[in-house]
Each structure stands twice: as structure tokens, then as C-alpha cells.
């Protein structure tokens, strides 16, 4: 198990890793996909996580063991067990896909190991299936999409058509939006869930949307599907305005989407162009180190480390005390003020509504609305 068992300190290369681990105060298990479809997210989150620890000058205090979940639930669970039982990590960080989070839930809860979720948005994880050991610093699917309901109605858009991939996250995102949109007086006139990972041609769906009588389209797509969807939307002439969950035009993918993404408006918990001193400092430092703009995924990794360090600063040292300290954390993140809601262990954060606009040769994000301190209802979670 040599891989990844190294301190962040560059000097302590793999060969010295074991020695480094012996001196480190906290052992962290990074549980992310490093191969397969989601490898890009795993790497982005890892970069953000390491960056925060280096920035704080605390590389020596953490020993990090990295394991590849391949975004497959059985593999993720096997690796989590390995990290907890064999490497005896103090805390697990990571999990990109909701399926892996679902697989881990009972194990982490039973083993009483704190898990800081740095991506997976499954609503249940901080809802009816919440656990005192699972803290989420990223987002919940509902949290990101709910604010768009009221906002779209405020823009005078009364009828929309929805599209999302046919899997649990897609359903949760669209349901949260639909509920909020209907409550605000809007009407969803139609929608489809497209076969996940099997749909390369969105033309038929775009044509359906065009003849549905809707005034706009609201979608959730991520990764390769987001690129395909936005480009095909562009090629069909952008007949209806496109709104969506902000992953659609994430900085990670917007370059590949190109001109087609201009004018798309979406909601997300982080946008790299936020005009706050914390964010400017973060973006500049991140760009200087990695030569790219941080994405929401980098920030999730970054905030996972910040949250963990804040818990340790409050006196936590072992699994139980870290788990107890995590829900009390609050600080000013690059994405704005964040705190962990002790009622659900989900993050409370601003949701930004941003438009992708042309900026010289490239594209940038223009924030057009902010919904402050969005907090999820407990939804069956009984932590308090």
C-alpha cells in the first residue's frame, strides 16, 4: 500500500512516506475516483485539498492515503474499509458519486469514522439517511437547484421544459427545482429523463422541448454530457433560453462548450469570478500554482481541508472528537460564508446564479443573483 502514503511535503517523497506518517498528527484517507469517467473530478478535488493544507503550512501535520474508488460502489466500499481498518485513518475525505456514498453510509456510520463528503450530492445523505459521522461540505442536489425556482419566476418565465439524465441525482435535481418553481407560481409543461451514459444525441429532446410550448429549458447535465448538451443546444440555434444546474457550464467544461455556452444561466455554490477578497486571493494563488482557474470541485476539496483543519484547531484529535467538532465549523470560504448545519451536517452556503458571458477570446461567469445562506430542511434527519 505504498501509493499515496506520503505527507504533502514534497521533500518527503514516497520512500519517506512511512516515516512522515509516523510524525503526522492526523491521517486522512482520500477516497476519490482517479480512473474512469470521474477521474477529472477526483484530481480537481485532490488538488484543492492539498492546496489548502500547503497554504496553511501544515503539510507535516497530515499523512494522506489516497485510494481510487473508480466511482464504483463496491470498489469504493472496499477501499473505505481498507482505509479505516488497515490504515486506521482518522478521517475519510472525498466521494464523488452518490452511489459510492450510498454504499459507504452504513459502514462509516457503524465504524464511527468521520467522513467529509467533498462532492456527492445525494439528498438522503444529509436527510433521512443522515449520520453524525457524515458531514458534507460540497452541496446537496436540492440545495443547488431550489433557488432557481423563485428566481426564474422573478424573471417572468412562467413555463419551462426540464431535461436531466435518468439517474438518482438527475431526478433529485429536477424534483427540487420543480417543487420550488411550482410553489413560486411557475409551470413545468413537460420534460424527459434521458438514458444516462447512453445518450449522445440530444437533438430529439431539444426538438421536443421546442414544440412543448415552454418559454425556457431547465436542465441538469454534468461532465461529457454537459458538453454534448450545450453544444447541441447551440447548434440548434438557442431557440429557447437555457437555464440549469450550474454544473452545466462549470469552468472545468465551459472551454470545450465554447460559444454555445454564452447566455446560459445557472445556479451553483461557487463561481470563480466572485468579487470577495477571500475568493480573489484564492483564485490568484490557485492559478499561480496550477495554471488553471479553480472549479467548484477544487473549492470543494479546498473547503474539505479547511473544515477539517478548523475542527482540529478547535481541539479535535481522534475520530470521535473530529466528528463532534465538524458540525460546529464556520468560516469565510472563497465561496462566501459557510457553516455546517448541526441539524443535518450539510453545508449552509450561498447559491449564486450566474450567466456565462464572452470575455475577449474566452468565457467567464457573471454573477446575476445571490441567494444567501441556503439551508436544507432536515427532511427526516434527526441529528438534533
Amino acid at each position: 500500500m505504498k501509493r499515496g502514503l506520503s505527507t504533502i511535503a514534497l521533500a518527503a517523497a514516497a520512500s519517506l512516506g512511512l516515516t512522515g506518517a509516523a510524525f503526522a498528527e492526523t491521517t486522512v484517507g482520500l477516497l476519490l475516483p482517479y480512473s474512469g469517467t470521474y477521474a477529472a473530478l477526483g484530481n480537481d478535488i485532490t488538488d484543492g485539498f492539498n492546496f489548502a493544507i500547503e497554504e496553511a503550512g501544515r503539510a507535516d501535520a497530515f499523512a494522506i492515503v489516497r485510494e481510487d474508488t473508480e466511482a464504483k460502489p463496491p470498489v469504493g466500499l472496499a477501499m473505505a474499509r481498507k482505509l479505516v481498518l488497515e490504515d486506521e485513518v482518522d478521517v475519510l475525505v472525498g466521494v464523488v458519486s452518490s452511489g459510492v456514498l450510498g454504499a459507504l453510509r452504513d459502514f462509516v456510520d457503524g465504524a464511527e469514522v468521520p467522513l467529509i463528503v467533498a462532492n456527492a450530492g445525494n439528498d438522503a445523505a444529509t436527510g433521512e439517511a443522515c449520520s453524525p459521522y457524515i458531514v458534507r461540505v460540497s452541496f446537496s442536489n436540492a440545495q443547488v437547484n431550489r433557488p432557481m425556482g423563485q428566481w426564474l419566476v422573478d424573471q417572468g418565465i412562467g413555463k419551462v421544459y426540464t431535461l436531466a439524465p435518468d439517474y438518482a441525482a438527475g431526478h433529485q435535481m429536477i424534483e427540487a427545482f420543480t417543487e420550488a418553481y411550482a410553489a413560486a407560481g411557475g409551470e413545468v409543461v413537460g420534460g424527459e429523463f434521458t438514458p444516462f451514459g447512453q445518450t449522445s444525441d440530444f437533438g430529439p429532446y431539444l426538438t421536443n422541448a421546442g414544440s412543448s410550448g415552454a418559454e425556457a429549458i431547465f436542465v441538469f447535465y454534468a461532465g461529457g454530457e454537459a458538453i454534448s448538451f450545450v453544444k447541441q443546444y447551440g447548434s440548434f440555434g438557442k431557440k429557447l433560453p437555457l437555464y440549469g444546474s450550474g454544473f452545466l457550464t462549470s469552468p472545468l467544461y465551459v472551454g470545450a462548450e465554447g460559444e454555445a455556452a454564452v447566455g446560459v444561466t445557472a445556479s451553483l455554490h461557487y463561481v470563480p469570478t466572485l468579487d470577495t477578497p477571500e475568493n480573489k486571493a484564492f483564485v490568484d494563488a490557485f492559478k499561480a500554482k496550477f495554471e488553471r482557474t479553480p472549479s467548484e470541485y477544487s473549492v470543494q476539496g479546498y473547503d474539505a481541508a479547511r473544515t477539517l483543519m478548523a475542527a482540529i484547531d478547535s481541539g479535535a484529535a481522534d475520530r470521535a472528537s473530529i466528528a463532534a467538532a465538524l458540525p460546529k465549523v464556520s468560516y469565510a470560504s472563497p465561496r462566501g460564508p459557510v457553516e455546517i448545519d448541526p441539524a443535518t451536517n450539510n453545508v449552509v452556503q450561498n447559491i449564486y446564479i450566474y450567466e456565462t458571458v464572452a470575455d475577449g477570446d474566452g468565457l467567464t461567469q457573471k454573477v446575476v443573483g445571490t441567494v444567501e445562506a441556503v439551508r436544507d430542511e432536515p427532511n427526516g434527519c434527526e441529528l438534533q
Binding site: 500500500m1 463496491p74 488497515e86 459502514f107
Partner: protein, 335 residues
């Protein structure tokens, strides 16, 4: 025609003993790996029964395993049945699915059979993936293992569970070998070698092959229940066609039509993957090159190659295995 030669028995015993020692002396993760190997090996042995001896190269064995796992989850978690009868019913569900697929696809051969089984496997995958009752891609959790406390066995202990997995693997191998040596197995090999002749002899070849696929599916179901009890959580991922593809690779890598070869293939595949991924996230390229090298080295699979070499060194083995058909020869006949 299947022969449980002395070499095969020896390899089986060495593999099982080696894995047992590895699990006992190794740390927690070693046991995890042993269970992973056992699941893949059971699946590979079951696929070899169908593919190596019946010529039915199925691309739905992952789905069959998943059907057993889901049946187990539905019966225990959703319907509250006790674990043991639920497991028996789950094996039956897998066997019925396998028999039905074998019967419906009875007239297809070669790549058409592969694609037809893929179709049925993917139908099962899509149906479960889309079912919100079954949790869709979020899967089903809160499964449990057999309660063997009355035997003084605690399956929740990782070492005990690893040894339990090896026992299942041994039982599956013995069952497969026993059936293949029976009249049923000899008829199956006969159909594979010359279907027209067997039909002329009055065998209903479609029904016979369907039964054989059903038996293979029963064994694959054991892998499904083991997988469900191992992770205590199941997701549709188990049924996806790439799982079946991986098993097929393992079978060919180990040596199609040797029964023990696929088991050896599973051991090597899992160990290699873990070893390589300790050093690099790019383990695919290394595995890929190994697959290519295996074929260039002789094309009989790893174990098939060993047997081939042994047979050459000992022109007159004490336990003769008259027509020990290499996978290569079989493959060609169904080109």
C-alpha cells in the same frame, strides 16, 4: 470433455491453500482481496462451464450475478425473509433467468449468441437501474450475512468471511467438475463439438444447452449472493455489461475450457490490478499489455499454456488426458 487431472487438483489445492494463508496471515485488506478473488473466481468458473464446455460465450454473467444479489436484497430487506431461504430462492431466480436466456437464444451461435446474451443482460440492468423501488443507481443497503452463530461461526469477522468465501469457491468448483464429468456434461461437450451429430442421436440440443446455461447461472448466483453479503450493499453496477466483459477476459486469460484456468486467471487478475494500482492510476495500460502478451505467447491462456508445456515434456503422462482440447482449437470451430 472435462478431466479433473492430478495437475488440476494440485493447482486447485495450492490456490485455495495459498489464498487461505494469505487471508490468515495478511492484514484486513488481504482478506478483502481474497473475497474479491473468490467472487470473481466463482463467476469465472461458472462462465467457463457455459463457454468452455458448452460453447456459450455469455456476456450476461454479470447480470446473472446481479439478479441473484438483487433477489437476495429484495427477499431479505424488502420482504423480510430469513437469509438462508432467501439465498436459496435467489439462486433459483438466477438459474431460471439463465435457463430462459439459454432457451430463447438457443438457435444463435458465435457472436450472435454473445450479442443476444448482452441484450438480455442489459435489459435486466436497465430495468433495475430505472426502478425507483429498488433505489435506482443508489442501490440497496442494510443487507446482512448468514447468522451461523449456532455453528459457532461469526461471518461478520473479516477472516471468517474470507474463509467462507473460499469454501464457497471450492464447493462451486467441485459442483462444476462433478456436473461436467456426468453424462449431462459429456453430452454438453458433445453438442459443443458437433451439434448435428448429437441432434441425430436424439438429443434436444436447445433444451440441453439451456439447462447447462441454467446450471452455470446457478453457480454465478453464488457469486452474486457472496458479493451482496460481502459489501452488504448492492447497486446496478453489478449487472452492467462491462462486468461480464471482465469475467470473460479473466476466463480467456486463465484458459478457456480448463475450469481451473479461470480460477487461476481470477487470482492473477485481482492481484495484478491491486499491485499495479498501488503505483499508478494508469493500471489499464499494464493489464492491456499483459492480455496482448498472453495471446502472443501462445494463445491458450495462462493455465492452458502451462498444461500444454507439461504435456509436451511428458509425452506419456501417467493419467492420460486423451483429447485435451486447447481453447484455440475450440474457438476456431465456432469462428
Amino acid at each position: 470433455m472435462f478431466h479433473q487431472t492430478a495437475t488440476r487438483t494440485l493447482v486447485l489445492l495450492i490456490a485455495l491453500a495459498g489464498l487461505a494463508i494469505y487471508a490468515t496471515s495478511g492484514g484486513y485488506f488481504a482478506r478483502e482481496i481474497v473475497v474479491e478473488i473468490a467472487i470473481l473466481a466463482i463467476l469465472a468458473v461458472s462462465l467457463d462451464v457455459a463457454a468452455g464446455f458448452g460453447g456459450m460465450v455469455s456476456l450476461c454473467h454479470g447480470a446473472i450475478m446481479g439478479i441473484a444479489a438483487y433477489a437476495y436484497a429484495i427477499l431479505t430487506v424488502k420482504l423480510g425473509l430469513p437469509n438462508l431461504p432467501a439465498a436459496v430462492l435467489s439462486l433459483a431466480a438466477a438459474a431460471i433467468f439463465g435457463t430462459l436466456v439459454g432457451w430463447i437464444t438457443g438457435r444463435t451461435t458465435g457472436i450472435f449468441f454473445i450479442m443476444a446474451t448482452l441484450a438480455f443482460g442489459q435489459m435486466a440492468y436497465t430495468t433495475i437501474f430505472k426502478s425507483r423501488w429498488l433505489g435506482g443507481d443508489d442501490g440497496i443497503g442494510s443487507l446482512s450475512r448468514f447468522d451461523l452463530a449456532w455453528l459457532g461461526i461469526d461471518l461478520d469477522d473479516s477472516l471468517v468471511f474470507a474463509l467462507y468465501a473460499l469454501v464457497l469457491l471450492a464447493l462451486v468448483y467441485i459442483a462444476a467438475a462433478w456436473v461436467l464429468r456426468s453424462a449431462f456434461g459429456r453430452t454438453l461437450s458433445g453438442i459443443h463439438a458437433n451439434e448435428d451429430r448429437m441432434r441425430a442421436l436424439g438429443v434436444n440440443t436447445v433444451i440441453h444447452r439451456a439447462r447447462a446455461l441454467g446450471f452455470s447461472a446457478l453457480l454465478a448466483g453464488v457469486a452474486g449472493i457472496l458479493a451482496a453479503q460481502h459489501t452488504l450493499y448492492i447497486s446496478p453496477q453489478l449487472l452492467f455489461w462491462t462486468v461480464s466483459g471482465e469475467v470473460l477476459i479473466v476466463v480467456i486469460l486463465g484458459g478457456l475450457g480448463t475450469l481451473i484456468g479461470p480460477l487461476v486467471g481470477a487470482v492473477l487478475f485481482v492481484l495484478l490490478k491491486h499491485q499495479i494500482s498501488d503505483y499508478t492510476d494508469h493500471w489499464h495500460i499494464v493489464i492491456g499489455l499483459i492480455l496482448i502478451a498472453t495471446v502472443l505467447a501462445g494463445g491458450r491462456g495462462l493455465y492452458g499454456q502451462v498444461e500444454h508445456m507439461l504435456a509436451r515434456r511428458r509425452p506419456a503422462p501417467e493419467k492420460p488426458a486423451p483429447e485435451k482440447p486447447g481453447p484455440e482449437k475450440k474457438g476456431l470451430s465456432h469462428a
